[in-house]
Each structure stands twice: as C-alpha cells, then as structure tokens.
Symmetry: D2
Subunit: 406 residues, 4 copies
C-alpha cells in the first residue's frame, strides 16, 4: 500500500493558538499519518514556531479533503503552485471545486508570490480583480469571472491567541452564568474607551430584549456619548423603542412598573401606525414626535443604522429593509472597518453579523441564555467574548462605567 503524501509548512504562534494540536489531531482523526520533518518551538513568548510536516494517506481523495482542512488551520503546501483560477460557468455559480473562504486572513499564491485577499469574509469565493485576489459572495459572481479553485495555493493566518491580559485574553471560551460579570463589564468599558481613543468604530447589534429589560436608556446614552458608530438590528428593536418612548410600554408591558397595560400588542401597532402616518422615523424626529430613545439618538447624531426585516415582523417601519439581499448589503456597509461589535440579545442578527466579519474583528456577545453564546462560537466566530447575564443590567452597568450613572 503506497500511500499518497504531501508536505506542508506552517509558522506563527502555532502552540499558544492551539493550532498545532488541532493539525495533528485532525490528521489522525482522518485516518492519515504524519511525520514531523522539522519543528522549531518559539524560544520565548514573542518568538514564532516553525513546522514542516509530511502527511500520508492511503487514498488520494481523502488526502485532498484533508489538505483543504489543514489549509484552514494555517498549513500550506511547501511548494505552492500558482493559484488555479477558473471561469464562473454562469452568473452566481462557481466551478464545482471552488475554494470556499473562512473568515481568517488569507493569501493566495499568484504570479509567484503570496497576495492577501481583500474584503475577507466567511463562505465566500476568491476572484481575481485587476490581478488581485478579492473575496466575493457566490451570488455576486459574474459568468466568466476567474474563481479560485482548490486549496493548494492558499495560505491562512488564523488569529493567534490574544497576547495582552485584556478582555479577550481573559475571557476566551468562557460561557457560564456562574461568574461575576462586574469585571467583564469593566473590561468591556475599558475596551470601548480604548477603541474610541484610537478612533476605532464600535458597532452594536441589538435585539428587542434591550428594550424589554429596560436597557434602552443606557444604550441611547451610549449613542449620545459617541460610543456607537453603527447599529444593526431588526424591525422589532426599533418598534419596541418607539412604543416605549411614545407609550411607555414594550409589547404592552409598562416598563416603569412591569404591569401589562393593554391587550397584547395594541400599543405596538399604534406605534407602527403613528410612524407610518408621519412617513418615517426621521420625520418623527424632525416633527418632535420622537424626542428620546435609541432611534432618536441615532438619528440626531447621524449614526448609521440598518433595520433588517424578518418573516415575523409587524408593520414594518418605513425604514425597515424588507429585501434580505439589500439588508445584508446595508449591514456589510456599516460593518466595514468595525473595530469591535457588541452583540446584545439577538441570536439571529448576531450570527448574521458573525458570518460577515473577518476573524480579526472583536466581538462581545451578551445574552442571558448560554446556548446563544455557545452557538455563536460554534459557528466559527471563536474571537467572541461571551457574557451570560441580564442584558438590561449589563447595559446600565456599562453606561455607569463609561459615563457615570445614566
């Protein structure tokens, strides 16, 4: 039995990132064998490691599959060939063996050298535009466009473990309701201050639970104080916010007292009708009907936002984007150049955003349900710092840390 073999190289912080462990385990799980040709462990914390490896498998097709997966972990062929680009057979269709992107920093071997892929995102394809590799969505392919195929000329740089003792070094893979979140709140506050001091952009993804749990005034205050450079949400967040401002309720529950004050959704529908009558949220602000709240502060400060529609929407509000292709585009534009994304109580929008982001953008995810955070991490967004707590309490604590009490 003459096994098929390939030689790979990898370098970087292979040990502290856990990548070396995952590479070797993967090879064994897949029924293949390896021989370490050379390995140099970084002498100190600052030094990189360097690996050369031969992988052998009895079947050629399994070796090809394994190669694709090793590449995703940061291995690359010792002697990479020239990137293979083949034409898209139709609009929105890639060749069968197209290379499907991860969210990690990626290089392709083009014209004899490694070139970084621009606009990196998950689940995309790599095309050549003006000779440069760029990430695109499948649906945006034009027939004939040159699409990268196979993974043998690809090199990834999965993120190393955070080297500083801050928020992300500290909380990696913590998903537990049995932790004091006081520190987490403080660390998130510090992170946000540092980002703003450095001119970075903070994008908030928010679900309606922000309003239900009484966190809307704190989030509005964060917007006013300049800690929010973009907001991504659904129609529901905005309707709840407006309902709360106009009638003091959220889904018919009076926020000041917790008392149910109408039969079900009546104030919700009144809020929708009111905005529809005025024409838009911004008209409501201009005409002085909406004088506080999250949406008011966003509009007053000119902070961009995108409200994505969903199958369960009431209304929707005039500003809600009902076409999902357009909504994804609007989300992507607001996410461009984001330094950190703060996700508050919305699994749907958080996963959507996680898929759009390259892996080096930080994410903080706050939810009262541990499975939501586990699921986010599960989907491949390992740089998430997860905090299991009450969203309303979290936001008030964050605002108190950033601006004194609200």
């Amino acid at each position: 039995m003459n096994p098929y073999a390939r030689r790979f190289v990898s370098q970087g912080h292979l040990v502290d990132s856990g990548l070396l462990t995952r590479m070797l385990n993967l090879i064994v799980e897949e029924g293949a064998d390896y021989e370490v040709l050379s390995f140099r462990l970084g002498k100190t914390n600052r030094d990189e490691s360097h690996l050369e490896l031969e992988v052998r498998s009895p079947e050629e097709s399994r070796l090809a599959d394994l190669t694709a997966r090793l590449v995703a972990l940061g291995c690359y062929e010792r002697k990479p060939g020239e990137g293979l680009f083949r034409p898209a057979p139709r609009d929105g269709v890639a060749p069968e063996d197209f290379y499907s992107t991860t969210h990690h920093r990626t290089e392709v071997h083009v014209q004899g050298r490694w070139r970084e892929v621009r606009r990196q995102r998950m689940d995309g394809v790599v095309v050549l535009e003006d000779g440069e590799p760029v990430c695109r969505k499948l649906r945006d392919l034009a027939a004939g466009q040159a699409v990268l195929c196979g993974s043998s000329s690809v090199r990834l740089a999965p993120p190393a473990r955070a080297r500083d003792p801050g928020l992300f070094g500290f909380m990696q893979s913590e998903v537990s309701s049995e932790r004091s979140v006081e520190n987490a709140v403080r660390r998130v506050a510090d992170e946000l201050k540092n980002i703003r001091a450095a001119g970075g952009r903070i994008v908030v993804v928010a679900g309606p639970v922000v309003v239900h749990t009484g966190g809307a005034p704190a989030l509005a205050a964060l917007v006013r104080a300049g800690f929010v450079q973009g907001l991504l949400a659904g129609n529901a967040l905005a309707v709840h916010d407006v309902e709360c401002v106009l009638y003091g309720t959220s889904l018919g529950v009076e926020l000041a007292t917790g008392r149910a004050v109408d039969q079900g959704h009546r104030n919700h529908m009144r809020a929708l009708n009111r905005i529809a009558a005025l024409g838009s949220l911004s008209a409501a602000v201009q005409q002085g009907v909406l004088e506080s709240g999250i949406m008011y502060e966003l509009l007053r400060s000119g902070v961009p936002y995108a409200l994505a529609g969903s199958i369960r929407d009431d209304g929707p509000l005039p500003e809600t984007i009902n076409d999902m292709i357009q909504a994804q585009g609007a989300y992507e534009r607001i996410l461009a150049e984001a330094s950190l994304v703060l996700m508050l109580g919305s699994m749907l929008h958080s996963i959507a955003v996680g898929n759009m982001l390259p892996s080096w953008v930080k994410m903080v995810c706050v939810d009262i349900a541990p499975p939501v955070i586990t699921k986010l991490a599960d989907r491949g967004s390992a740089q998430t710092a997860g905090i299991v707590t009450d969203v309303g309490f979290f936001l008030r604590g964050l605002a108190a840390n950033l601006m004194g009490s609200v």
Copy 2:
C-alpha cells in the same frame, strides 16, 4: 367622586376557559370596581354561563382602556352601538383610534346586527368590504378605506377549553422536560390521523435542527405518506436538507457518524452552488440530482412550501423568497384552511406563523429548549401544545407511530 360606568355582557364557557377569572382580576388590577348584575353558572359541563356586569372607574380614559381589554376577553357592551368606521387617512395608515385585532373569532355590530369578521388574524385592522367586516394588515390599507375604530361595537369569542380528553385538553400549558413524551408523540400521531381522515390540512414549520438531529428522513417519510399539506421554513432548512442528501453532512458534520468532515461550511456552500448551477430545487429533482430528502418529497408530491429569506442566509437558494412582504404572503397562502400546524425547532418561523393564525387553529410546538415554547405561549398563542424534547427523536417516534418504523 362620581365614577364613570359601563355595562357589559358575556356568555359562553366563561368558567372553564378561565375568562371570568381574568375579567374580574383585570378590573381590579386596573383600579376599577365592578358589580355583578347577574351571573348564571352553566348547570352542567355542556351549559354555557351568562354574565352581566357593571364596571366603574373614576377616570373616563381609563374606563375606555379597560373596555378595550375586557372586549379582548369576550365582554361586550350590553347595548352595542353601530360599529364606527372611519376612513384611512393615507395608504397604509389607520385612524389613530383604530381597533387592533386579536386572533380570536370576532364580530362587529354592523347595521344593527353582529357580523363575523372574515380572515381573522392578530394585529390587523377591520375594514368594511362590500358591507362585510374583514381583517387586513395595516400596510395593506388604502387611503379612504373604512376602518373600524374603538372597541365598543366589538364582540370576541375566545376559544373555550378543549372539551375532549385528547392532545390539547391533556397538555394545556405543559412546558417541562420532566415528562414522558411517549404519550405526547402518540397523541400527536392520533391527532394527525384524525385530521387526515377528516380531510384536514397539516402544515409543518421546520427549522434546520430537523436535519441536524437526524430527523429529515422521518419528516420526508411523513410528506411521502401524505401527512404534510404544506411546509414553511427558511432558506437554511432547505440548504441543510440538500447538503445532507448530496454530501451526507449537515454544516460539515457527517450525519451517519457525527464526525466533522470539512472545515466549517464547505459542503454547505457546495450544495448552494450545485443548486444554483442547476437553476432551482425543482430542476435538481427533475434532473435526478436530488433523489431523496424533505425538499425532494415535497416537490415530488406537489406539496406547497415557502422558504423565507433571512438576514443570516448563505446563498440563498433560487426558491428562497428574499422579500419579507412577499414571504409573509406566501406563508399566509399556505396556512389558509390549516387544521393543525406542527412547529419543529424554529422559534423565528413559529412565532411568525403564530401571529398569522386565528386562535382556533391548533398548534403543536416541539423544541428542546423550554423557553422557546414559553415564548410562543407568551405571544398570545395559548392553544399551543408544547413538547420539550429532542426534535430528531420526536420525528422518528412520530413516523413510527404513523407508519411503522421508517
């Protein structure tokens, strides 16, 4: 202090439905007083009860609010006036005091007699079409259309408690993982058989967890055996189903073994690309590419389905409806005349569907997470029978009950 007062009548199964309890408690919670003018308790289980009540409040506006809420519980003015219809000021905008519908059977006092509202749904408005009251969505209003305002000429018939010892009598408000679900599976099977025997329509709402938990073959078998008259889902269910059929994986996890076999989503994207290349799911079936699975069985049997897009979609598939207004319309058409809706592991689509249904359509909701079921009930869909269990096990058990082992 001269209180304002109104007299209400209510009749029906007021005690066993719990409505009488809720009416009297509501009045007290709202700071009002009541005097029972007369009450006749149904002598036996078959007899209806009859109530006359005077409600007094020190403030006229609070009495109006209270009236709206009592009407939602089935009270109506002893001497109803003629329904007040006023013109919609603009397209998609109702008069400020519009009557916002519940999902319960509703009558309006028009031209001196009670007339039932057609196309009943939640969070709608009532308009007059050809002299008959009909339920419409706010956004579908045309300027000038006659819209019902206030609630003093409205009469609701909230559903009485199920009188038979079947599925819904038995499981009301059960949300617990500490129950044997064997019986529940059997009762659901009996209910489905009875509905089909009577020519009723069963609509399934399904999330991708159906595929992840290995329930797809059982659901496909239910379709083949004629137990599904419509399927409502998102893009993800269909992509997972296709990925599973073509490559044996679901999000890269091999279903036959549980082993992760690719890096993340690669097969997922390949499945999308494959269908895009063929043009559509139905083309994939016609060309023999797709030869089993949920989507295959639906297409083969001509069972209607609707795949709603969402902000987190990959692809999407050509059949996915990306515009949410259109998607809601497609859902509503498939739900028309449904006898029972079986909701499997998708909170988003289940709540969407719950809002579209009148309260007399039965819903069975299966999810491993108790909060999902609680939330569904919370939103006003009290006729839900909730079953907390593993969706895959549930579907296999259901198929075994209905058709022998699958």
Copy 3:
C-alpha cells in the same frame, strides 16, 4: 347505570383565585359529571362567592379519588362526617388510606366543628394531639398515634389571589428573561422594608452562585443592615464565602479580576483546612481570621443559619449538618414564623424549603435559569414570585435600593 354522587360546598374568592375553573375542569377530566345546585358570585371584589355542587361518577372508587382532589381545591362535603382517625400501625408508618397534606391552610371536622390544623406543611399527615389536629411527618409518627384517614372531613383554604397591587399581585406566574427586573428589584426592596417595619422575619436561601457572581458583599450588607433573620444554605455557600474572604477567589477564580488563579480547587481546600484547623467558623470569627463576608456577618449579628450537607461536599465545614434528618429539622426551626423567603440561585435548597412552608408564606425566587423557577412553581409552590436574572446584579440592586450603594 346509576352513578354515585356526592354533594360539595365551597366558598371564598373562588373566581379570582381560579379555583372554580380548576374544580369544574377537574371533574370533567376525570370522566365525572356535575350539576351546579347553586352558585352565588361575589357581587364586588370584596365579596366571597358560594358554590353548591353535585358530582356524579359511574364508579365509586373514582369518585373517592376525585373527592380527594376536589378537597385539595377547597371543596368540602356538604355534610362532613366526623374526622376518621386510625392508629398508626408502627412507628413511622401510617394507615394505608392516610390523608396526605398539602401546604394550604387546612381544617378537620373534629367533634362536630372545623378545627384548624397546626404546623401546616406539605406531604405530612394529620394527627390528633390533645384533641387538636396537628401536621407531622410520616417518619415522626409513633405506633398507635391517631392519624387522619380519607379526605371527607377535611376543608382547605387555598390562598386567594393577592388583592393588593404589590409584588405578588404583579408578578404572578411571570417566568421570563424578557422583562425589566428593575421594577421587580424595587418591589422586592419595598416588600422587605414593609416586612421589617412590621417586625416580620426574612429568611434567605442561598446557593454558591451568590458568591461566584459577586453578590456576597451585598448579601453580607443585607445581613448587617438587619434584613436577614435566618440563612439556609449548603456547605458550599459557606466554603465559597470563606475562600473569597481569605484568598479573594471562588473555586480558584479571582473575584476582583475574573482570572483563574489556581489549578482548580486548591484555595477551596485551603479554606476548608484553615477553618478545620481553627475548629469552626465561629472560632475563625472570634480569632479575627474571618473579618468579613456572609458567614462573618451572620455570626457577628447572631442571625441563625443552617448549612445542610450534600453528597457532593468537600470538607465539609465543622458547622455543616451531615445528617439530613437533622438538617431538615434545623431548616424547619429557622423557617418557623418566616414572613418571606428569598431564594437565590439554589434549586436544591429552594425546593427543600418550598416543601416545608405553608402556602401563605411568601417566596421570591431569583435565578438566571427559567427552568429552575418553573420547577419550583411546578412542585406546588404557586405563591412564588419568580425573577429571571443575574443573581449578583440582583443582590447589588437590592442592596442599593435598601441601603444606597454598597
């Protein structure tokens, strides 16, 4: 078919408590029939209702079972016989048909009149002591003691719905993480203040999550300020509290920073060893080793506490009661005359306490997991106000409401 029949009476707030609904539904569910002989609905909110009912069943044994369950809802035989007391056959053993108590206020028809049962608790038996009915545990029965059998001479008074707009009126059956808990915290604070102003006793049941989530200083402050008249916990709470005071960690996680600082449990074991070396917690306080924390404040203020052992204990601490019979006794003594029990993040101890309390003692249960609260209610402790939130945040909020910031 000549059915067996019995006549029952019930009076009180039968409608707003929901009892009438439950009675009539129960009869139907059990396959029996009823005829309302008379019913008088309380004319106003302050008036009681009065019911006379004949229940008929085709089988005598089912009628007996049904009678037992109707009695538990507050029905009683129109012509009650004299309470049937029969001797316990052995120590710790009751006659087969013994009456098993609920936690509701109970009367027994003895010597021609209704007499209230003393020391009411769940799952007990009623014995005659000095001619008076008293509640005892099965295991405490002495051979020959007179034990109440059957339920035909028993009358219960299940609690009416809270008539005031306070904490319990407001929160009934709310189990949701989608609520603002700010109000709930404020209402609990008000309730605690009122109870203390009236000289009532507040007992706290606390799990180790109080320490993990950083709530210990707030709870200690509540003790110091006189808001805690007894504490019920397990060994773990006290060990975590001591570990936190002595080493600043909880299970090896530094509370001030959230950093893991030892390998697993080392500080935990050191804390146990330290107290063992000193002889007891109180010795540690007297010798100035323990100078703050929950246990310190309890010991300094002389507030009684009981630490129950469990199968998973490390140590345990010298004060921990390892015998469960004795531990239950210690719990019961501290619970005597409690006005309100505040349960913080411990399902095990909370359910234990719920079983010991009569139904008129208020319970507030705080946990981040909705199922814990549902389960508590499920076990028959319907007077629970459940708050789904982060326990640490809750305690800090409560302390801030009661005493300004801590």
Copy 4:
C-alpha cells in the same frame, strides 16, 4: 531585576492533548517568562514529545504558585527533590502548604524515585502509608500522619487525548442540542458492550428524571441484562420508581397517559408509607409487593446501589443513607474499579461522582439541559462525553441497541 527561575521537564503526548498550549499560555497569563531549553516533537502520532523549559518570574511567591499550576499540567522539576512530608497538626487538618490533589495520575518523588499515588481522587491530600504515597480526604487525616507539602516533588500524567476513533475521541467537548444523537447512542452501546466483554464495570448515576421521562423500564432492562454493575442515586429516584411500579404514576402524573391523577404528591407519599410498612425495599421484593422496576431488578440481581439522602427528601426510604459522610463512603465503594460511569439527568449526583473519580475513568453524561453538561466539564471532568437529549428517549434507544426493543 533579577528574576527567579526554575527548570521543568515534561514528556508525553504534549501537543495532541493540548497540554503544551496550556503550559505556555499559563506562564504568560501569570506575568512570567519562559525560555524553551529544548523541545522534541513526537515524529509520528505514536511518538511522545519531550520539553525542557526555564520559567522566570520577578517574584518568588508568584513563581511558587505558578509551579503548582504547571505541575498540575504535567510539568515537573528537572531535578526533583525528595517529597516533603510533614505531620498533620490535628485530626482532619493538614499543614498549611499541603499538596491538594487533582484527579490525574500522580507520582511523588520518594526515596529517590517516582512512586505512583494510590487511590487517586480530586481534592485530597497525599499521605505516606507503609512508605507508599496514598490519596486521602482531609477529614480522614489522623494527627501526626505524614502529609505531602508543596508541589516540587510531584509529577502528574494528565490523560492524553483518546487515540481511537470511538466514543470519546469523537465527542470531545461536544455540548450541543443540534446534533443527531442516534450515533452517540450507538457508540455508547458499543462502548458498554466492549466494557462488559472485557469484564469491566459500568456504574449508573440516575436522577428521578429517568422515571419522569419514561426511561425506567429501559434502565431496568439494562440491569437485568447485566449492563449495570452499580447504581448511585438519591432517595427520590427510588421513591419515583416504586411509585411508578405500585401506582403507575410519577409525582402524581400517570406515566401511561401523561394525565395528572392525584393532587400533587399523594401517591408519592403512599409509596413511601408502603415501603416503610414493609420495612425496606428488599422486604418489598421478597414479599412480592415490588415485582418490577429499577430497584426490583437491582435487588433481584444483587447489583449494589447507594441512595444518598438530601435536604429535600420526602420519607426517606429505609435504605436511604442520611449521613452524607457515610453516603460518600458508600458511593466510593461502588465506584471502585469502575470502567465507565453513565450519568443520567442528575447534576447533583453527577458532580459528586465526578469529584470522586480519577481522570482515567470514562464518563458519559446525558441531560436535556446543556448547562448541566457544561458545568460537569467545568468542574474538571474533561473526559466526559456529553449528550444533550431527552433522557427517556436516550435510554429506550440504548436498550434497543443493546438488546433489541424493550
């Protein structure tokens, strides 16, 4: 700044176990520095790796703490001194700097050579008995006994990753309800068969949810078929089992129909009274009162079991061990030589057992709630295979796999 330094050695499967990653990250997190003196990566999957490392820290005390934690990961001093044993100052008290055990295989350098510690368990101390190191609980120490102090003469062997493609290789750290559990059931069945074929011992830890979810007949069948060599539970499991056998209910819910058939706990108390009258469970079996169920099968087959009391017990049954010190002893005796422990729906007992076991005993934990499984892993029992599913369905599936349908 002249840093303190120590040199460590480690060898074994350092990379695929992830230990090397954890060592290097730990050093950095603790503010220390390292220099790799030499590292040899195992050339193939079968070869071990070998590391020599110098660790430097500016503070001596922090270096000592760090040493303790590195030792827990499998590092040991390059030139270990002789193990330092000091006398216990009192019964049940260790010297302040006692070495606190992990559950990993441990050696101590005694009289110039490494000797394996016997009776390994978590959170114990190491004493010398007849010159050999043995693990003991703190509370079992006798004054004067020689107790190991410090960690500089200790060497651990944390378990390497499973090298075979079976249950534990496959499921490591999977905690998700979004997986097909069919495979997991099949793999657990295979594992149990293999263990029994090799003469191994399977111990089951079971909570009352086994009975509530209808899994009791399947578990009883597993006992009868010889797949259970010991059962660890609380009083509640046995009472529910007896209630189910004698009256067909579990906490008053009829298992065959799911109908509530008594008011709360009456059958539960009757079951307890019945067994009390007979004297014991075994008397109930001998007298033919108990003729099926889990407890019946255990008693009939002579399989040892231990029922630990708890603060929330009713009864308890005569066989229940009310003293927790004794109950822990009984658990430990049954766990001796266990090959695999199957944990079914009981967090309390599962964590207790996890603390008693050395790390090389396999554990399979089945629960419908993901946090339970996360928590188990969190407590340091990383060899757990966690399966999120309905316990009743799981047991029926397992029995079907092992013995055909039950």
